[in-house]
């Protein structure tokens, strides 16, 4: 039951009893009265937005249990209010071979066939016609005069609806709340990320300023090598002075002599002559208590101490 309009898209009239049809392009969809509930109301309200708030309560006692969406438009002084199940319509569309991505616009038959006096035959057994300005379905057998569905005569109204694919799982308000939470989370995360990025940039700037202030080499590899060399020098010089201090502090007896002090090729040497065993012991004890590793040797009158620095 497809009819081509003089519009951008083809139009499909969808009823639960419509035949299956494969669609591989976008189409406009007109919903049969079998797929929605409609009421015509005269309300002491001027604007559609005021009526929208009342829609669930208007249908409260009429609708069977389900997840409904609502729509309303104004015609003259009257409001036409609609209730429909998104999932039921989407399931019907899928059954008829129309996938969601191929749906351009969705209309109610109520708004698209307005002002028709004659009944319209939608299939072999059913027709639809207006009774008290409401388009209703009824068996064709009860209708005396009807004419076949002719889409050529229809020009689309502005009254479209958007089908909510997950409306039966989460309602729009909840979706908006969840989305708002995510947006807030995204804003917080983005702000924190921005702040941290600024901090990283600040630390990098501080580091560059430190390099400039200390006149350091451009890479830490070079600086570490310099530091290692300087530490070695410092440790050797400290150890050298400690070793000399121990030797010069040794209490020698009258005949005991310090003959030579020498530091060359990272080795410190002290050579004594005529040292008694007690003096040797005292010097060795001092070296040990100063944590200085040493080697000592004795040759005839000479006693020699070597400290590797």
């Amino acid at each position: 039951m497809f009819t081509k309009f003089n519009t951008k898209y083809k139009t499909v009239f969808i009823d639960p009893k419509s035949p299956h049809y494969e669609v591989d392009e976008k189409v406009n969809v007109i919903l049969s009265p079998a797929l929605y509930w409609v009421k015509k109301l005269t309300l002491p309200m001027k604007y559609v937005r005021d009526v929208k708030k009342l829609l669930p309560s208007i249908f409260e006692d009429v609708l069977p249990e389900g997840h409904y969406s609502y729509s309303v438009y104004k015609s003259g002084e009257d409001f036409f209010v609609f209730a429909y199940e998104d999932k039921r319509i989407l399931d019907t569309l899928t059954q008829k071979g129309i996938i969601t991505s191929n749906i351009a616009n969705v209309y109610f038959a109520q708004s698209e066939f307005e002002h028709r006096d004659e009944a319209i035959e939608i299939n072999d057994v059913e027709s639809m016609y207006f009774k008290d300005e409401i388009l209703i379905l009824m068996p064709s057998a009860f209708v005396t005069h009807s004419k076949p569905l002719d889409m050529q005569e229809i020009s689309h109204s502005q009254h479209t609806i958007a089908l909510a694919q997950f409306g039966h799982i989460v309602d729009n308000k909840s979706l908006i709340k969840i989305a708002a939470v995510f947006v807030a989370l995204i804003v917080i995360l983005a702000t924190e990320w921005f702040v941290i990025s600024q901090k990283i940039a600040a630390v990098e700037e501080l580091k560059e300023a430190l390099f400039a202030k200390e006149g350091a080499k451009s890479t830490m590899f070079e600086n570490n090598a310099i530091l290692k060399k300087q530490k070695e020098i410092y440790e050797k010089q400290t150890k050298l002075r400690e070793s000399i201090a121990v030797m010069l502090a040794s209490k020698l007896l009258k005949d005991e002599t310090l003959k030579e002090l020498k530091y060359k090729n990272k080795t410190f040497v002290a050579e004594f002559s005529s040292l008694s065993a007690a003096t040797i012991n005292a010097i060795e004890k001092e070296l040990k208590s100063a944590n200085i590793d040493f080697k000592s040797s004795k040759q005839s009158e000479s006693w020699r101490v070597e400290v590797a620095l």
Partner: protein, 135 residues
Amino acid sequence: MNRLNPLYIGVGLVLLALLLLLKLSSAKEELLLAKADYKETSLTLGEISSLSSAYMSKDEVKKSLQRILSQPSLKSANIEQNIKNNTFFLHSSSMDKEALSSLMGKLLNGAYNIGAFEIKKLSENKASLEVEIKW
């Protein structure tokens, strides 16, 4: 049905939030590394700076030694001075023990990088001396 599918918006928001979480996590890690790196750099450069100033520079060594050697007690020791590359050489084939003690006391207590030295006792009051001071 031309409006954007809410599922796409939802998936987009979740993906964006996840992406930002990952970015934030790596940024936090990067900040910690940057801070640790800054701290380490600061320590290293601080140590280099203090160790550099622990020993005298070429000019400081020259000036300081000239001042020490010009003292009356050391003038008579006839200490030879020689500079080669980055080393200051001091040599005396014979100096008395007071002068030696004075000079060595100043060298060992001063901020000199002593590269080598040799002191040999010649007699009860005399000794020879060779010292290399680097910068």
